[in-house]
Symmetry: C2
Subunit: 110 residues, 2 copies
Amino acid sequence: MGISKTEIFTEQQNEIALFAKAFGHPARVAILQHLFKIDTCVCGDLVNEIGLAQPTISQHLKELKSLGLIKGSVDGTRVCYCIDPKNWTKMKRIMCGFLDQDISIKEECC
Amino acid sequence: MGISKTEIFTEQQNEIALFAKAFGHPARVAILQHLFKIDTCVCGDLVNEIGLAQPTISQHLKELKSLGLIKGSVDGTRVCYCIDPKNWTKMKRIMCGFLDQDISIKEECC
DNA sequence: TGCATTCATCGTAATATTGCAATGAAGTAA
DNA sequence: TTACTTCATTGCAATATTACGATGAATGCA
């Protein structure tokens, strides 16, 4: 039905899924990579950098912001965005905990 | 329009997004966690383990299989699924490369 | 053969996501 | 003030995802 039955899963499983969903679109991946590359606030030129319309970029930024992965600060008519290092680290710990499950795997079975 | 403009992004960005999308649903997270926990083939009881209908589970398994993260082998009337360690490692390298971008970050800016 | 079991596929409904034009809000500059 | 810039929000259309009942395919067993 297009709706996830979140109530039957653990809080951890839902949290992993939420973060993963944020990375589940190449535009958001590109935005985050650009913010890391610049390594400072990006003020205004994200629309030129990524090839999408301004409202679309704004929407993607909103999603990343609501998860806490980036933060924005107003500077005149511009808004400057950058990675939130604290929350990024927190997210990374959760995601890597999920990805590193294979360290305990014994052998191939089939 | 509900369609991602994949053509304007790099192959790497699209690949990250594809893997992330696979983890973007708690049911698929739960399936993978269960496969790791059991640490062998899981034959048949995934529907009881996760709380979703059989066609729904089958659909999620198909997605994970099409990405190569799991593999299934027929065993009588049952189908046994397990993690594909090789592809999981490959995926992990790609995802961690993305998540570890912050190691080069200098300082907070805003 | 006939029946049961297991899983995949089909079809469909409900909801979510993506993208953008149009518009609005808030600031700057003349 | 007016005009301009920048970004957010609204509204909408197109597509994607999620979920499941019904059905089909394949196997095992009596």
